[in-house]
Amino acid sequence: MANLVIDNVKKRYGDTEILKGINISIAAGEFLILVGPSGCGKSTLMNSIAGLEEVSEGSILIADQDVTHSSPKDRDIAMVFQSYALYPNMTVAQNISFGLEMRKVPKEERDVEVERVAELLQINHLLNRKPAQLSGGQRQRVAMGRALARRPQLYLFDEPLSNLDAKLRVEMRTEIKKLHKKLGTTIVYVTHDQVEAMTLADRIAVMRDGEVQQLGTPQEIYDNPANLFVAGFMGSPAMNFIPATVVTGDDGAMLELATPNKTLLPFPKHESLQPYLGKSLLLGLRPEMITEPQAHKEGQKYVTTTAIEVEVTEPMGADTMVITRINNAEVNCRSNPAYPADAGSVINMMFDTSKAVVFNPTTGERVDV
């Protein structure tokens, strides 16, 4: 396994800059996930790592070797594609061994390797079939098998699960995680599914407009988003952004919400709010931080109970989303299904601001750092 260094990589098509200086460095055996909206450059970055597209500037190092200008086949990389890209005229076994054949591995060794990979992915019974005779999930496995067979230094996964149905996707996700644990491979993985990103990644790189917005562990990204974009992108339902006015209260600078009775919320890093006194900021609060009043949290430092007006509720089974409107922003709250919350009624909810974050509404940057 090898490490990967992406050093100030830029990619231009004519005047448009698709990648604007990407810097990512991952250790051997690490699982990196690239997320971002479509058109953010994540596919271009993948192609650049693979050598399928030439970069305009910067360099790429795999296992400390500069491969910026090497051809794809010399980089020792395998890639799993969204469409699987299985060779339609070859059997599963031939698909898996094609890369080895191209590298002039003798027939006997190839057969052994195909056996090993088939064993690993439990596709032994499919080896003589053509891709057209396989189900979506089976194709996915074969595509992974093709990547595994060559034992490359680096694996690239380009939205590999997005063509599977929901159930199969969860299964394969677990499988990929297990494989990674077992083989300790270095993986770069593109997805737009945040659950995949959160569950699989050692680190996540959130990209937008050809730039890395934040690079960190899933928990860091979730708890400590660098800006409004990252905060809004990760998490489902998304983080609430509530316009709030900074006022002086009992605990220094506090955030004022226009709930039925005006609410003042305390904030851990209240010093950072001092410069914004009297101004409006965006309070970022995850839905699970606004709940029905819970006895065990009563009296904790950053917990405030206040009345809100219920606009609509969405029962999800395990919990119910209570939707309200504060300062003209829709706010999702995660409450216990047993807690009465009829549309139109006014109920008490508990705001926990211990993990709240605050953004500058014009720049989108965090202000509490």
Partner: protein, 325 residues
């Protein structure tokens, strides 16, 4: 070796020099890899090169060449004695050319209209769950597999006034029946229309049938649920959705009409006199047998103009349509 595949005018030249330098200092091994990769990079272009050269020279180059010749006084051999628009002036003062052009108007117009009409009607009729549809379709389309020369030969025999269709009808009891279009200078152009329609209408039918089969079945169900009769459904829903097929057919048919040369050669050889000449035959005769290269070139350029007049709006609308999607 390295320099062999480096093209000094391209950007890659500079990056390549730079890479060679940087890699020389770091890892001399990767320098040997570089030329091979460059060859691989150029492979698609190398493969396309023959077609590219041939297209530039033998299509566009020759077009320009013929264009230049049309402004010269070339007769038996190309000469480059420029005479401005003289040849075009001669061309449009030439009675034979005027006949050829007006023949093209009559022939092309009728040929296109009749083919489109027959094609649409036959396609709709064949789309009514007809038994033996495959066999009937095969019969309608087989003339398209035949050369225009064979078609011309066959219809020359069928249309000949002494032993052909005329005699057939007379022997059936219609003693006064006359059918001498093939030797009548005023009517001979319609013989071309008959033979050409016979050959190409099945093809138009096949185009429309493919189009009809591609119409969304839900659309037709919806129209029926709205209370539309079969006739109304065709007129208001199905046929309007076949507009692209209609335009494709129109372009191809006009292209066939303008290029028509072999049919005339085989069926009438331009006669009687030059009453059934088409521009293609005029061009060939003047360029290759009558030693009037300048005049022939001018007529070829006019033909090209006709094709472009049809093609350019078509391609333009096609491309614009695609952009809107």
């Amino acid at each position: 070796m390295v320099g062999l595949f480096v093209f000094p005018c391209s950007d890659s030249f500079y990056s390549e020099v730079f890479i060679m330098k940087s890699q020389n200092s770091l890892r001399p091994t990767s320098v040997q890899r570089k030329p091979k990769q460059t060859l691989a990079d150029w492979m698609p272009k190398i493969v396309m090169a023959p077609t590219f050269i041939v297209t530039v020279v033998c299509m566009y180059g020759y077009m320009v060449w013929t264009g230049i010749l049309s402004f010269t006084s070339s007769r038996m051999l190309p000469s480059y004695n420029f005479v401005g628009f003289d040849q075009y002036e001669r061309l449009f003062n030439n009675d034979r050319w005027i006949v050829a052009l007006s023949n093209l108007g009559v022939f092309g117009g009728l040929f296109i209209v009749i083919c489109l009409f027959l094609g649409v009607v036959l396609a709709i009729f064949l789309d009514q769950k007809i038994r033996a549809e495959g066999a009937i379709r095969t019969i309608y389309l087989y003339p398209m597999a035949i050369s225009f020369i064979v078609t011309g030969t066959a219809w020359k025999w069928l249309l000949n006034p002494t032993n052909g269709l005329e005699k057939l009808v007379v022997d059936m009891g219609f003693e006064d029946f006359k059918f001498d279009w093939l030797i009548n200078p005023d009517m001979v152009v319609y013989c071309l229309v008959i033979a050409a329609v016979w050959q190409a209408s099945g093809f138009v039918m096949a185009l429309f049938l493919a189009g009809l089969r591609g119409v969304d079945g839900d659309l037709i169900k919806a129209a029926h649920l709205d209370g539309a009769s079969t006739f109304t459904t065709y007129r208001r829903i199905i046929l309007p959705s076949l507009k692209p097929v209609f335009f494709s057919a129109l372009v191809i048919l006009s292209h066939i009409a303008i290029k028509s040369f072999d049919l005339v050669a085989a069926l009438t050889n331009g006669g009687p006199g030059y009453s059934s000449d088409l521009p293609a035959n005029f061009m060939y005769a003047h360029t290759f047998t009558r030693s009037q290269i300048g005049l022939g070139s001018a007529s070829a350029m006019v033909m090209l103009g006709c094709v472009l007049a049809i093609l350019v709006p078509y391609l333009y609308s096609e491309l614009r349509g695609k952009r809107h999607e």
